[in-house]
Amino acid sequence: MSDALVVLKDVGKTFDNGTRALAHLNLTVRAGELVTLLGPSGCGKSTALRLIAELEAPSSGTITVPARKPGEVGFVFQEPTLMPWATVADNVLLPLRLQKVPAAEARRRCADVMTLVGLADFARAYPHQLSGGMRMRVSIARALAPRPSLLLMDEPFAALDEISRFRLNDDLLRLKKELATTIVFVTHSVYESVYLASRIAIMAARPGRITEEIAIDPPLPRGADLRTSAAFLDRCSRATRALERAAAEDRP
């Protein structure tokens, strides 16, 4: 496929201690998609994401990320992972500084992205002064500052309360539209998965692999009552049944 942004072919990952985290994992992510990796804790979702980011190397198989260079891939961790000694602005500027983007240009891009994620008034605040949701926004702003074509997110909203999570879900979809970013999003929440995804990859554990894919196609109509609509709940039960089938495969 010509517009494939990420191709994982028969990927396996065995850690030094012998744990088989992933085996025979196949996944293709096309430009413009939002793919969620949905599975139980410990099924290797995060490992798959780290392999795509090249933070770790696969033990077998191939991972192709065409046109990849530093800054083209953004990563948002489970924790906000901010530098506590640096202001919000300095945290967001970090990737640009590491890549030696000229200071004036870096400041302009930093201001743009902070406005996008709703942080414009918090540039001089320190991370400890912010709520968990705001810290996560800083983390997202930092990932977006270098204008990545691919954004990898590892259960970024898992630690947040439901209300903040809903708001950040909506903001993420808006950002995706405005920036035309492709996103791979790891989560263990069926509802978050259905709400965000254009395609859901269901994962089974021990070893981690993708058992089936559910396309949310055509996209569900966005609106205030989406979360309570019949179509939404129907997709949720389909995803839940797929998860149950995947879990059944685990049992010997």
Binding site: L55, V73, F75, M83, L94, R97, P146
Partner: protein, 257 residues
């Protein structure tokens, strides 16, 4: 400020009561000064002997600060080198541990044979202050947030960028813990080494004043010198704590522990 003052009033009251009780016991029991001098006498001795005592205090403090300065530079640079090359740590850390676990008072006589008295005193104070700074810096450098290291790796940060922009700032809280311990120990090391050196030095620190006054049964002066040493220790500890609080105040509310 008011709240801080009200928080410390029990300490202040306890201290005043303690001094008054001491004064009362000495007066009522008519204890002679060479047995136990009253606080008022210790205070007057501090004033009458101030030229000699403060000159000695200055000698001891100079040693302490020079030793602490050397320990900061030596300890933190060695910790940085250790963090970059693990084999270096494996080669040299045992030596540092041996020096640390051997009581300084046992090393002092040997240093006094090899070195001039002031160098030996400085060396002792340095040795005791050095290890906590090295150990805490190493700990701080080794405990950088692994996800932040991943962020740096993701953007292709160089080793130098990772050290300067991430590992060093991340190690600051540990560094300050080491600094507070090291500051107190430098004074202890200086005093211990002065005691071991006795009168062999040209300039005489506070510890020697205590020994000297002891020989002469000048107990009030012993107390006066002791008061100065413990005041110096407290000032060092609290100024280093204040410095640490100032440097880390943006990090977290827990910066003031």
């Amino acid at each position: 400020m008011i709240r801080r003052l009200t928080r410390y009033w029990p300490t202040a009251v306890a201290f005043v009561v303690f001094l008054l009780a001491w004064e009362a016991v000495v007066r009522l029991a008519r204890l002679p000064p060479f047995v136990l001098p009253a606080p008022s006498l210790v205070a007057t001795t501090l004033i009458t002997d101030r030229a000699m005592l403060f000159a000695s205090l200055w000698v001891t403090l100079r040693t302490t600060f020079a030793a602490l300065g050397l320990a900061i530079v030596g300890g933190s640079s060695l910790a940085i080198l250790f963090s970059q090359w693990k084999w270096l740590e494996r080669a040299l850390l045992p030596f540092a541990v041996v020096l640390q676990v051997t009581p300084i008072i046992a090393i002092a006589p040997l240093l006094l044979i090899y070195l001039a008295a002031w160098q030996a005193v400085l060396g002792c104070a340095f040795l005791v202050a050095f290890f906590p700074i090295l150990a805490n810096c190493s700990l701080g450098l080794a405990s950088t947030d692994r996800n932040l290291l991943d962020v740096f790796a993701l953007y292709g940060a160089s080793r130098w960028q990772t050290l300067v922009m991430l590992k060093l700032p991340a190690a600051l809280p540990s560094f300050f813990v080491g600094l507070r311990i090291g500051g107190g120990l430098a004074l202890i090391g200086a005093v211990a080494a002065e005691l071991a050196a006795g009168a062999s030095g040209q300039e005489t620190g506070l510890a020697f004043r205590i020994v000297e006054a002891g020989y002469r049964l000048d107990i009030p002066r012993m107390f006066a010198a002791l008061v100065l040493i413990s005041l110096a220790g407290m000032v060092i500890y609290f100024s280093l704590s204040a410095l640490s609080h100032r440097a880390l105040r943006h990090w977290h509310e827990s910066a003031d522990v």
